[in-house]
Symmetry: D3
Subunit: 62 residues, 6 copies
């Protein structure tokens, strides 16, 4: 049943998402004591202009 | 006040979303004892390459 | 794959949650063209002091 | 550590998001007793056809 | 329609949440060009043992 | 900047959460090409009576 939602900057390739899905699932199976089939993962791209820290948009920090 | 957030694969038409909004609201009014005006629903499309189960992207399962 | 997350005021009984889960799933299967097994639902209780509209906590509106 | 997630209709400009990020952070620092660096904000655009209230899509209310 | 969800460490008083709700709503009305009635806010307490950065639980950082 | 939110059944110990936080962060650093400091993780316990699949509460499936 673990539902893992990942918000991240855009730009990861499908290959990276493939590897992330596999590695995050394995990490959860090993340390969270569950089965791979129980683990769901959603990736959500958040543009740098839509993510702020300390009051400043990430797109304004470069 | 119920806030219903639905994450789903892309592809539902506006007509389907219209019908879903109506039916989900009615279900909640009937069984959750609230009023239609209190119910908010958000639909979020999640691409198959962004949704993994058992460590495998949905886009890799076809 | 639809993941439905419902935020609502506390107080619904297990029976109400049971009926809501069944009805929301049926609504999605009928209008969202999916199978019951694909539908996951999470209920999240939000206390009235933690939910504000128009700048006022719901617990202050009674 | 406050993580603020804002779901809103599309259409705000980068300038508005810049001002919102600054103002929301200041509001939190002042009233939530934290530091600007601790505050993260994510903006999520939700199309009017994906947001329903009282069982009706926002895009159908105009 | 803005829906603002705030995840934060536990411990804010009702008075602080009252002030936060007011200030966050005002910030959004001013800079997001909307009305107070359109703004909903949800506060979610997250225990320090449930929040990690750099792989370390916040509860382990004191 | 990756923000990882994990919804799971209650019952994991602090030790398990500690190990999960470490392993999930490492998985992301390795495959998501980021730094440990950029990764935040939130664990959210969801009771079995609040999680349904195929229209049936998890608490009713035992």
């Amino acid at each position: 049943m673990p539902m893992i939602r990942v918000e991240m900057f855009p730009g990861r390739t499908v290959e990276q998402k493939r590897a992330l899905a596999k590695a995050l699932t394995e990490a959860f199976v090993t340390h969270g004591k569950t089965t791979p089939e129980a683990v769901s993962i959603i990736f959500v791209d958040v543009a740098k202009e839509d993510w702020a820290t300390a009051g400043v948009l990430a797109s304004d920090k470069q």
